[in-house]
């Protein structure tokens, strides 16, 4: 397997608190990786550093062989890093279709055009509709994002990121705030998309059933550092992970 993304001794400090502490993290081409850890373990901070929302205090981020540590968000997106958000982050007044179309316009560099009508660009709308269909959301195309159910909003958030045609997709808790019954269909949809397109995905998740059934590899974080890294089976047996994160079998 080839390494797609790598961080080297990445550090992020918030005052006295070291949220990410010399983390060496990697994502390989085509894998679905789960990032687990208790609240405050540094998972979201790590994703924020890699996606460009935050700047690291030290260390390096290498994506496809190029150092992206000081690149801006839009440069990283152009390189192929996209993300969704833990607290769903949509354009609530725009329809589901408009949300996806915006990402396509941006990807194609068309948002720089002042002298063209967005509505008249048929291929973009066609593609947006196809992406919604991929996420089984085409029935909701005209509904404003603010009027969708929590599960649909989660999927739309991922669909927007997917519309950027990334090579690496970070999903920050794609099933949080969703009923247990809805979790499996959401993960099935996302998993089908990323696996069929061979997009590498790194998913932050708290639900251990989801983590074990959908990922190829699991990285466990604790207090800003990586605690364990292995296949689901290895992680299931890892003593440190069991005691610090999952709890003993009796409590589960």
């Amino acid at each position: 397997m080839t390494v797609l993304l790598e961080t080297r001794a990445l550090v992020k400090q918030f005052g006295e608190f070291r949220a990410v502490d010399r983390v060496d993290f990697r994502v390989e081409e085509g894998e679905v990786l789960a990032l687990i850890g208790s609240n405050g373990a540094g998972k979201t901070t790590l994703v924020n550093l890699i996606s460009g929302l935050l700047r690291p205090d030290a260390g390096q981020i290498v994506f496809r062989g190029a150092d992206v540590t000081t690149q801006s968000v839009h440069e990283r997106i152009a390189a192929g890093i996209a993300r969704s958000f833990q607290l769903v982050n949509l354009f609530d007044q725009l329809s589901a279709l408009d949300n996806v179309a915006l990402a396509i316009f941006s990807r194609q560099g068309k948002t720089r055009k002042l002298w063209a009508l967005a509505e008249a660009d048929r291929p973009v709308w066609q593609e947006a509709l196809e992406i919604l269909a991929t996420f089984r959301m085409d029935g909701k195309a005209t509904v404003p994002a603010g009027g969708l159910s929590q599960g649909e909003r989660k999927l739309l958030d991922v669909a927007i990121a997917y519309a950027l045609r990334p090579r690496l997709l970070f999903l920050d808790e794609p099933t949080s705030g969703v009923s247990t019954r809805e979790k499996a269909p959401i993960m099935d949809t996302i998993s089908a998309v990323v696996r069929s397109e061979r997009i590498s995905a790194a998913i932050i998740e708290h639900d251990m059933d989801v983590v074990f059934s959908y990922s190829d590899r699991i990285v466990a974080m604790h207090q800003g550092a990586i605690l364990a890294d292995g296949t689901p089976d290895e992680i299931r047996r890892d003593e440190r992970v069991l005691t610090t994160l999952i709890g003993t079998p009796e409590t589960r």
Binding site: H74, F91, R112
Partner: protein, 330 residues
């Protein structure tokens, strides 16, 4: 076909043009039915409409409340007056070109500083910068004429039409149609801009800055371009205004005039495309008649603003649209 595909079919870029043609016909026909005073009054309204249209690209579409648009209106007006004073220019086309160039330069610099901030910080900074220009116009009297201002004679339109005969007649016919033509072009251009992929990106920035950044939009750069376009529209309005008024004084650079632009836009409704234009025309009548009616006209306008914000927060156009859809759905 799914419902969504049908919905796609329904989206037609020209569907919103329904209101534009009748409105234009009325505006063209008006000088035949209305007297000269009313026509000139409307010309003022249309000019303010251009200014408010530009202003609303920032407020309504990008989510930035500028409190310094008087600066760009003033740059437009003063660049015309200075072209008269120092270069003896009389061609209106040269005036407009000069005003656009001056506005691009000023808004590029001011915008560069302002778009680093949002919300109240943005508002305060735009206001402070406009006050700098106001004090320059006020203090450098040997250039700007100070509080006496600078006179601007009637210009030559398209190289042939001059106000050599009856000045009022000229302003109420030739100049009115000149203003109307530029107004129509400005409305059309702005309509394309807000409906362009760029316009969509601005609305995305307004609604959710962080997410807009994470679909790859360069927030500051786009805000800066919006600022530039906005300032140039308002500056163009200033350039059209000054021959009509015959005089420019530092008053139009003062922040209270920025407040009037905000007022017009809110009056008409900043959430709709036509709102600022309607608001500007209505405001122009309101102010003219309030000034004629009482020396306490500012009090009167203040009361109107309070009533407006409390009872019609979506402005004239927003309220009208709501009533209209309610009637149709009945």
């Amino acid at each position: 076909m799914t419902t969504a595909a049908l919905a796609l079919e329904h989206r037609s870029p020209v569907r919103t043009l329904g209101w534009a043609i009748p409105a234009l016909v009325i505006l063209v026909a008006l000088p035949w039915v209305a007297d000269q005073y009313q026509t000139i009054l409307l010309a003022y309204g249309l000019i303010m409409g251009i200014a408010a249209l530009g202003f609303n690209l920032l407020l309504g579409y990008t989510g930035l409340l500028s409190f310094g648009h008087s600066a760009y209106f003033g740059v437009g007006a003063y660049s015309v007056a200075l072209m008269v004073k120092y270069l003896d220019v009389t061609s209106m086309e040269l005036f407009l070109a000069g005003a656009v160039v001056a506005c691009v330069l000023v808004t590029a610099v001011f915008g560069f500083a302002c778009v680093r901030y949002t919300r109240i910080f943005f508002g305060i900074l735009t206001m402070a910068l406009s006050q700098v220009l106001w004090s320059l116009a006020f203090k450098f009297f040997w250039v700007t004429g100070g509080t006496d201002g600078l006179r601007v004679p009637t210009p030559t339109l398209l190289g042939v039409l001059t106000g050599a005969g009856d000045k009022i007649e000229f302003l109420a016919t030739a100049y009115y149609y000149y203003v109307l033509a530029i107004f129509a072009v400005c409305v059309a251009v702005m309509w394309v801009i807000v409906n362009s992929p760029f316009g969509r990106a601005l609305q995305a920035i307004r609604d959710n800055e962080v997410r807009a950044a994470f679909v790859g939009i360069q927030i500051r750069k786009y805000r800066w371009v919006a600022f530039l376009v906005s300032g140039v529209f308002t500056g163009l309005a200033g350039a059209l205004w000054v021959p009509l008024n015959g005089l420019t004084t530092p008053d139009i650079m003062h922040w209270t005039f920025s407040g009037e632009i905000v007022f017009m836009t809110v009056l008409g409704g900043f959430r709709s495309f036509t709102g600022p234009v309607i608001g500007a025309i209505v405001f122009n009548y309101l102010k003219t008649y309030a000034v004629g009616y009482t020396v306490y006209w500012q009090l009167l306008l203040g009361v109107v603003l309070v009533i407006l914000v409390v009872s019609l927060p979506t402005g004239i156009v927003g309220t009208f649209e709501r009533l209209w859809t309610r009637r149709r759905s009945r």
